[in-house]
Amino acid sequence: MAEDRKLICHRCGVELVPVKTFFNYLGHNFNTELPACPKCGEVFIPESLVRGRMTAVEQELEDK
């Protein structure tokens, strides 16, 4: 799936915009910019990001 997909929030009917999004895992907090609904905040994480960078970060934190 292409990462530059233009998605819209079904409820708010608006296009997603980059929003600073916060994560936590194993007591560590971090953030990154991800497409999210500017109104309700519904976020999108593409599969390629999950399988790539997110998995790598998860493993790094597990090994830390």
């Binding site: 233009k6 079904h10 409820r11 997603l16 994560f23 905040g41 519904e42 999108f44 999950v50 597990e62």
Partner: protein, 749 residues
């Protein structure tokens, strides 16, 4: 956490991995032969010679005169012939181009040491003391140095080597001077007496306080006068110099005696035959011949565990290294953050018990990892993700999928198939139970998990709750004898439920003439023993008897030292160490060309996951599946258990359970397989879609109209991309991550 200290003590006292091989132990100099050989294998004659020189003091003399006690200790003797270290020493001396000793630029020391006797022992002691810049005077009764060794060998070679080694050192040599009493040497700070085999030794006696120490303060003795061979005498001189130095610095004569003992024996049966290299010129090796001879050395050490244990072999870790990494992980000390380098390693052990079974001292790394896992859990330092899926699976087995059948009337037995047999194929359980009901009428059945996933996860309380539950069932049903079919359950019952008497299904089948035998099998199968069956030889025998009775030809898979390695399922290591687990099952699959017959459903399914033809023994006996049946997906494993429960309820309890309304999902075969590999259940996907639809929390791709949404279920966050269909949903993607969206956590409260 005293177990860490206990384990360290155990390793120190009983692990042989770090011990020197027999050749080094037999060598008077404790020469690091493995180091030298490793250098020679690379043709590094200078580097090898340097090690040799630093160890023996006079390399040319030793290369010429050594009586080779290493030879008879070489492990290659049993395979073909000992490595010719003597010829290799000579090759080092011949081909090294930098043979001059190191010139030590140290300040002179004021202490004066007398050496009585200029034989090889006295010279060796003098050489090392000169290297340290002590003031050394050697007294010799005769008119030349060298003593009896020089007389016994090429005197020119002897003189040249002595000259070369002393070329940067200054010492006084008093020839033709016999020291008649120790009192003469009162001006010296220390004395080494090595007056040779014929001498009276100046009336000295050993004090027993330390190496080479006499009963006179500051006076040491050694060499041939104490019944030593020439090479031992040389070694004495070298070691005595250290005892003397200790005395000069501390005033104590308590240098520890060197111990030389090789406790381990390598197994030469696995050595490839390599004919000894003979010098083509009949006298000495060429450089190339020397390298080839060095290559015959196996560099042996006790590596029983490192050969047999998949984890140690895969990660190339010594027992000591594992201990150290686990230690700093459990006890990170004063580091600002946890130095948890072995977190994943602790979760990677398959708990198969191979390490313990092959170790000559039965050191149990599995138990060490198990204890370490508990400690990590207590600290909250073990990532939940490593065992989360299987703990949820256990909860499912002991919840939705659990069931008990208790026939009326008197009953003696209870069939406890465990959680995964019915997950692999419900017929394994239903057909076996049907047979048991005919064979032993009144046999009860209880579907649940033995609790091992909690034990493997280090969840002590949870594990206890499960085993307590089994004990309660056992009590409630009248203390029946359990019939176990899963080898892991057997091991688990022995360890954690020792009060419950059990018999294996296969022993029952072996002893009964009416055992099912529907197999039509001509080609031999390879019997794969479950690792957990290591504790139960009677079960392994029974499995073979059942195969024989059924006329099924089979072969054994030879494993080193008779160990039973894991199929990769054990310890639920696959999440923490996916690549490792894949290598393990690939290795197992490659150990035989034959199709596999297993008697553990997890072994069967592990082989199937790598497309290795494998059947469960119950497939053969009841004519169920062929060897090419693929491994069920994680979703199928759950559905199978529900199907089994419904069938049992219908057949034995006369119930017709309502089929639960489930969301209809259309998922391609390819995606199903990927989801299974990612441990994503179709029910997880259904939950995500339900949330998206009910709360209208979803995104839409205007290009294809697909909806995308997510939901956090327990710890994991699942995503799916889907499209509604008339009676369900078509799923295009499913993926999951462990990290949490913070907004999600706030929202979920």
């Amino acid at each position: 956490m005293a177990y860490l200290e206990d384990f360290e003590k155990l390793l120190k006292e009983r692990c042989h991995q770090n011990e020197v091989p027999g050749c080094t132990a037999a060598c008077p100099f404790r020469l690091n032969i493995k180091d030298i050989i490793a250098k020679l294998k690379k043709g590094r004659f200078n580097a090898a010679h340097r090690v040799f020189q630093n160890t023996v003091g006079f390399p040319a003399i030793v290369a010429a005169a050594c009586d080779r006690p290493c030879r008879e200790k070489c492990m290659r003797n049993a395979a073909d012939a000992a490595v010719d270290l003597h010829a290799l020493e000579q090759a080092m001396c011949r081909y090294a181009t930098r043979k001059d000793p190191n010139a030590y630029n140290l300040p002179a020391r004021a202490e004066r040491v007398a050496v009585v006797g200029a034989g090889i022992s006295g010279l060796a002691c003098a050489l090392l003391l000169c290297n340290k810049k002590y003031q050394v005077t050697v007294f010799e009764k005769s008119d030349h140095i060298g003593g009896s060794l020089r007389d016994a060998m090429d005197a020119q070679l002897f003189d040249e080597d002595v000259q070369r080694q002393f070329q940067y050192e200054k010492y006084e040599c008093v020839l033709s001077h016999e020291v008649r009493s120790i009192e003469e040497l009162a001006a010296f700070d220390a004395v080494y007496v090595a007056t040779g085999a014929q001498a009276d030794g100046l009336g000295l006696a050993a004090s027993g306080t330390g190496a080479f120490a006499t009963d006179v303060p500051g006076v040491f003795f050694g060499g041939s006068m104490r019944g030593r061979t020439h090479m031992q005498a040389l070694s004495d001189g070298l070691l005595a110099s250290r005892a003397i130095e200790r005395y000069l610095k501390t005033g104590l004569m308590n240098q520890p005696e060197e111990e030389a003992d090789a406790r381990f024996a390598a197994d030469p049966s696995r050595y490839q035959k390599k004919e000894p290299v003979l010098a083509a010129n009949g006298r000495y090796y060429t450089e190339e011949e020397a390298v080839r001879e060095a290559e015959r050395c196996e560099l042996c050490s006790c590596d029983a565990c490192m050969r047999a244990c998949d984890l140690m072999r895969h990660f190339d870790k010594t027992p000591r290294r594992i201990y150290e990494e686990v230690y700093v992980t459990i006890r990170p000390g004063t580091l600002s953050r946890d130095g948890t380098m072995a977190t994943r390693l602790i979760s990677t052990c398959n708990r198969c018990g191979v390490c313990r079974s092959v170790c000559p001292e039965h050191i149990d790394f599995g138990a060490f990892f198990e204890k370490s896992m508990e400690e990590m859990k207590k600290k909250g330092a073990m990532p939940w993700a490593f065992h989360d899926f299987w703990l949820r699976d256990m909860a499912f087995s002991n919840g939705e999928a659990a069931c008990t059948v208790l026939p009326p009337g008197k009953t003696e037995y209870l069939f406890f198939p465990g959680c995964q047999l019915g997950a692999s194929d419900p017929a394994y359980v239903s057909r076996t139970y049907a047979w048991l009901r005919e064979e032993l009428p009144g046999t009860a059945l209880h579907l649940s998990c033995c609790g091992i996933p909690a034990q493997w996860a280090g969840e002590q309380e949870l594990h206890k709750a499960v085993t307590d539950g089994i004990t309660a069932t056992w009590e409630r049903l009248g203390r029946l004898v359990f019939i176990l079919s899963c080898p892991t359950c057997m091991r688990s019952f022995d360890r954690y439920l020792p009060g419950i008497r059990w018999i294996s299904l296969y022993e029952l089948m072996a002893e009964r003439p009416s055992a099912p035998a529907l197999a039509a099998c001509r080609e031999p199968l390879a019997v794969f023993d479950a690792c957990a069956a290591a504790d139960h030889p009677q079960v392994r025998t029974a499995v073979r008897q059942v195969l024989q009775k059924a006329g099924i030809p089979y072969e054994e898979i030879p494993h080193e030292d008779g160990s039973l390695p894991c199929c990769s399922f054990g310890g639920h290591a696959g999440i923490a160490a996916q690549r490792y687990s894949e290598r393990v099952i690939e290795r197992r699959a490659a150990e035989t060309d034959r199709p596999i017959v297993a008697y553990c459903a997890n072994c069967r399914d592990s082989f199937a996951s790598k497309e290795k033809e494998a059947v469960h023994i119950l497939d053969l006996l009841f004519g169920l599946n062929a060897g090419k049946r693929p491994a069920p997906t994680v979703t199928e494993r759950r559905k199978n258990r529900i199907r089994l429960k419904r069938e049992l309820a219908r057949v034995y309890l006369g119930e017709e359970p309502q089929e639960e309304e489930t969301m209809k999902l259309y998922i391609s075969e390819e995606l199903k397989q990927r989801m299974s590999a990612d441990l994503i259940l179709e029910s997880d996907v259904a939950e995500v879609i339900r949330r998206c639809e009910e709360e209208d929390r979803k995104l839409m791709d205007p290009q294809n109209g697909h909806f995308i949404g997510h939901k956090k279920i327990m710890n994991m966050t699942y995503w799916t991309e889907y499209l509604p269909k008339e009676d369900g949903f078509e799923v295009f993607a499913a993926y999951a991550h462990r990290m949490s969206l913070e907004a999600e956590d706030t929202k979920n409260g």
